[in-house]
Symmetry: C2
Subunit: 205 residues, 2 copies
């Protein structure tokens, strides 16, 4: 499991000419960092007298963010696995017509999956921005810059994941699938930068 | 050393109510990811017939990016250490006037350092964007989205680091120091978003 490597080695593996982990896994990592920072701000708010009014809300955020973090950590591998599946499909035998057909189908199926994994990461990372706004506005103001960093990591996770969706869509022949996914991509893409800017505008230093 | 923790545990420690690693260390991590992806695109370009003309340039980029990556990995700890130093200064004895004075000085010195560490990360992360543009434009186009992700991670590293500079500046009494650093912050801040957008505009999917 990639997330069980130490940070240094994980970065070394990213840097190597092995295509995984690549941008898709990094998108998931970025999302998991955003979730972790959100959790941290909530945790630094819980138990503080000054913030007693938001105590319950912060406890809920810490809980949800922890679940998201674990999920994104799994997505780091899920994305690399999906990429490896496509690569494996390309290596299938292509001697007979039947083999050729089977290989083509496997590539198409694999590529669809390789676009759906980052699409889900993008959607989920976009969703946690709501929580990030809450910790920035209502959480411990000593940790407000950590909330700001969370917002930027989430935005980067969303856009990075969407790049990985789009590059895969380019090789998918199923037009209905491409149209449906493109619509979802565009919807998130058109909103994420504004959501980030809105959160950052609420960071008071 | 934080970078020697496994990714999962590092994220768990980030999420905890321990303030380190916080946004500053995450900025350095984000920069090291950007460097790693830059290196990866260069490595996926080297040795490919189609890209023989940029072979030497890519070898140079891979080398420089590797050095930057190692440096940023060290910065993950450097930032947390600087934060811990400030915390330690706050805990110094403050019974006598002499102790009070000494404590105040230690806090000021520590806070200056805690602003200079992320300032350096911001500057260095901004610098690598030049290399990122090169791999996006001239590197293996199969890995162009990895270059796009690198650009966004570098931008996020820069801005995250600058937030950490600014929050520290708020507690520094040395006006000349604050003015000088603020000038540097503003200079980078005013350029980084445009540089990111420029790189992304060169990503052809």
């Amino acid at each position: 499991m990639l997330a069980e490597m130490n940070v240094k080695d994980f970065l070394g593996k990213t840097a190597s000419n092995d295509p995984v982990p690549g941008g898709g896994s990094i998108a998931a990592l970025s999302a998991s960092i955003a979730a972790a920072l959100t959790e941290m701000v909530a945790n630094l708010t819980i138990g503080k007298k000054k913030y007693v009014e938001v105590e319950e809300e912060m406890k809920e955020i810490a809980k949800v963010a922890a679940t998201c973090r674990s999920k994104f950590v799994e997505d780091i591998d899920k994305d690399s696995d999906a990429f490896n599946e496509v690569m494996a499909a390309f290596k299938l035998p292509k001697e007979t017509d039947e083999e050729k057909e089977k290989r083509k189908e496997a590539i198409q199926e694999g590529t669809k999956k390789a676009s759906l994994v980052p699409l889900e990461v993008a959607k989920d990372a976009f969703k946690i921005m709501e929580m990030i706004e809450k910790v920035v506005v209502k959480g411990n103001q000593n940790a407000v810059t950590d909330g700001a960093v969370a917002a930027m990591m989430a935005r980067t996770a969303v856009l990075s994941a969407l790049y990985n969706v789009k590059i895969n869509l380019g090789s998918i022949k199923d037009e209905a699938f491409v149209a449906k996914v493109t619509k979802e991509v565009t919807a998130i893409e058109s909103k994420v930068e504004k959501v980030e800017k809105d959160i950052l505008s609420k960071v008071v230093l």
